[in-house]
């Protein structure tokens, strides 16, 4: 089957999200759809998936003109959209999830479990998937959930799959598992649209690519004819730097020291120190325990063994409030769940930490609140409308900057950044790196937790690699290479 979208135009109010975009994908092809956040990828795919209707333009299936007014219609035509947040019901078994909403019934109207199980087994055998249809979805790891979701789409006879950033929450071996499945599908003439930020994955798995920038298709073609630097340039519109940034040379006194910090089952015997002006990286794969170590330092994990010393004096950190008072700031990963308060406006989100200090006789001083925020806004160059707009009106990068702003207002001694550029586009990424280095230069001790080796190399002067709760090695200078990090992070 071949899908082609021709001259698609879509705007929301005055905002032209897509301008005359042509896009096509056919069976047996894995096509990467690339672009920064806000480039229009999601909108384009939502149109293909029947979630949105185009203002202009046509969609053709094998040359026949079609229009989708709902996701159900699009699915019926054989196009399945697999969203970033998986739509599985954790408390049900795998085969039950495969048929959710389309249960097979016995003549008496009850669910025909046997038949559902049999069909699931058949499909899994055909696709060479080793999942027990009887196991509960909650017991599967993220990659198998992804695979169940893909299988479900195939069970519904989908011949085109749209996958929205399928690998963001997966570890490397898990990613490989999903890729294996995609390769199998390819052989069976299924077409895949692969939306991703991770260019190396694109180079590995995709056949063709299309890059959107500001709603315009700027380039497309065969993956083997291009390269990562070329694609990233198309995405941002200028060259992207990958070399290590200049580090701060004069370090101050020790700000944080961990001595044999242990919290089973997350991590054990973690010892490290960070000095003022330094950017320490901590990296590893999913489940390495790095987030848990630093959430402990921020008082978010409860009881622990071992010692935490801040500025040389031993402390027992029991609550986030206490950590905050000691000058520790922690910008969590997964912005949406952990950092953004969606019912509050930009200003309140940006000042929620320092609010108690912005009061007179217990009442918040609005002007002070605004002034403080505006200062950070200018410093971090947050692109936004009014401070009273909803936080959701901002792009990912700018939301992240608002979260950063609320912590910078506390003038922290120790700033912990957990996946600081998650869901942030390439341009904003560079801006955040600049800010990190600037902060270090001003004497803040910065810890960057990241699963991207490139990010660690780019901003950190020194890094620890963790594996299943153990610190494997400290790397710096010569030894700080992607290959080395990968080897250590996978336990090698």
């Amino acid at each position: 089957m071949k899908v082609s979208m021709n001259g698609i135009v879509k705007s929301f109010g005055a905002n032209n999200v897509l301008r005359q975009v042509d896009f096509s994908v056919e069976g047996g092809e894995i096509c990467a759809l690339l672009g920064e956040n806000g480039a229009g990828k999601s909108t384009l795919m939502n149109i293909l998936g029947g979630v949105l209707q185009p203002d202009e333009g046509t969609i053709e299936l094998d040359g026949k003109r079609v229009s989708f007014h709902s996701p159900a219609q699009s699915l019926h035509a054989g196009i399945a959209f697999i969203h970033q947040e998986l739509n599985l019901i954790n408390d049900l078994r795998v085969y039950e999830n495969m048929f959710i909403g389309r249960e097979i019934r016995t003549p008496a109207g009850f669910i025909n479990d046997q038949e559902e199980r049999r069909q699931t087994e058949d499909l899994f055998r055909k696709l060479d998937i080793g999942i027990d249809p009887l196991s509960k979805v909650s017991l599967l790891d993220a990659s198998y959930k992804q695979i169940v979701e893909i299988s479900r789409a195939l069970m519904m006879k989908a011949s085109i799959l749209i996958m929205d950033e399928p690998t963001t929450s997966l570890t490397d071996p898990e990613i490989e598992r999903v890729f294996d499945m995609l390769r199998t599908l390819k052989k069976q003439q299924v077409g895949v649209v692969f939306i991703s930020h991770k260019l190396r994955e694109v180079m590995e798995i995709c056949d063709t690519y299309a890059v959107l920038r500001d709603g315009v298709l700027v380039s497309s073609g065969l993956v083997r004819d291009t390269s990562i630097p070329l694609i990233s340039r198309d995405m941002v519109g200028h060259d992207v730097r990958t070399e290590s940034l200049e580090q701060n040379a004069d370090l101050g006194e020790e700000v944080l020291r961990l001595h044999n910090l242990t919290l089973e089952p997350y991590y054990r015997n973690v010892s490290l120190q960070v000095r003022a002006g330094e950017v320490l990286g901590v990296t590893g794969l999913l489940g390495d325990g790095r987030s848990e170590v630093f959430r402990t330092v921020f008082g978010d994990m409860g009881k622990y063994q071992g010692q935490i010393l801040i500025k040389g004096s031993p402390v027992r950190i029991k609550s986030t409030r206490q950590a905050l008072k000691m000058g520790v700031a922690y910008m969590p990963r997964n912005r949406k769940e952990n950092a953004i308060i969606k019912d509050m406006d930009i200003l309140d989100n940006g000042t929620i930490v320092t609010l108690p200090r912005l009061t007179r006789m217990g009442l918040i001083r609005r002007r002070e609140q605004l002034e403080q925020f505006e200062e950070q806004r200018n410093h971090l160059q947050i692109k936004m409308g009014s401070p009273r707009d909803a936080i959701g009106s901002l792009s990912g990068g700018n939301q992240q900057k608002v979260v950063l702003a609320k912590w910078l207002m506390t003038h922290p001694r120790l700033l912990i950044l957990d996946n600081p550029t998650q869901g942030v586009d390439v341009g904003a990424k560079e801006e955040i790196y600049d800010i990190i280095l600037q902060l270090a230069r001003s004497g803040v001790a910065v810890v960057v937790l990241s699963n991207e080796a490139q990010e660690i190399i780019r901003v950190c002067s020194r890094a620890l690699v963790m594996y299943h709760g153990d610190v494997r090695a400290e790397i710096a200078g010569e030894t700080m290479t992607e290959a080395n990090i990968m080897r250590l992070a996978t336990g090698g």
């Binding site: 929301f12 109010g13 005055a14 905002n15 999200v17 806000g38 921020f298 978010d300 609550s319 986030t320 409030r321 950590a323 905050l324 922690y330 969590p332 769940e337 952990n338 950092a339 953004i340 308060i341 969606k342 019912d343 509050m344 406006d345 309140d348 929620i352 930490v353 609010l355 108690p356 009061t359 217990g362 009442l363 918040i364 692109k383 936004m384 409308g385 009014s386 009273r388 707009d389 909803a390 959701g392 009106s393 901002l394 792009s395 609320k406």
Partner: protein, 361 residues
Amino acid sequence: MSNKTIHSSSGAHGGTPASSSSGGFFRWLAQRWQENPVYSTAAVLLVMVIIQTFALGFDYPSFADWFSGWGRNWINILRNNASVGIVALGMAFVIISGGIDLAVGSTLVAVGAVMMVLINGNANGLLTAIGITGIPAFILGILAALLMGCLIGYINGFLIARSKVPAFIATLGTMKICRSVTQQFMQTVGVKVPREFTAIANTKIGGEIILPVFYWLIIAAILVVVARKTPFGRHVYAIGSNERAARLSGINVERVKALVYVLSGLLVAVAAVINVARIGSMDYANAGSGYEMDAIAAVVVGGTSMSGGRGSIVGTVLGMLIIAVMNNLLNLIGVPPFLREAFKGLIVIVAVLLQKKDKQS
């Protein structure tokens, strides 16, 4: 919180700020309307007041007579709903924080009973027995009531925030305990509320008993400021919207949550004082029963989201008034009392349906 932007503007770069004055007054009003559910709540109330005014009729010899009749009807409405209105204010905080407090009605009885035992004018009155009577006794009684309200609230808060018992279950439990224990203990205690005590609610101002209404409005005004202008208020909204993010912002989530229930308990105690003073007695089996549902109804009709994070105090006052005016209206047009509850149920459902429409845009 009345100036909160609920509708994100459609463009990725955000819309124009609400304060743009170029389009004149109506444009401004339209925009505020869209941004803020309180305006639509107020509009509904206005419509109901107009209908109610017509239902009351204009069959009076003079305008002055009509006006005094209309006014008296209003004072009645407000006075009859002052206690629940005060309880609803606490409920608003609880619901905005993402919780629920089912114990308010029973807390009212327990608190009222404790106070009555203290101020009891009979010889067996606790304070009378040790020679404290009159105003000092009243002050002690009221203080004890407020303290007791806070304490029951704190127990709820502790169970919910520290022991992680779901709010619905924790307060369902205290609800049962408070009323049952009160009824058992008060079975044999004969209480006489001193006449002077009733002055707290029944002193006439301009010929009308209107003090409870003042208490309600003063407390509402204070709480509007607390909700909008204090860190505590902001923290309540933050916790209701995203508890995890609130904790990771250094907010002491347990403390704020517990305080929310303490506040609710305190306001219930105030309502208990007003009720006892108003009536001069208390029916331990029935007093305050249904308060929890009426308070929740007022909060919801006032545009507060049951899932927390969104809502307002002003809206809660308006919500209470909508329900009260509707009740009055049904009375005026002769709907039988048993059926009136059905309308109350209907208006709550309609209010939530309208909110749902709001969210989708």
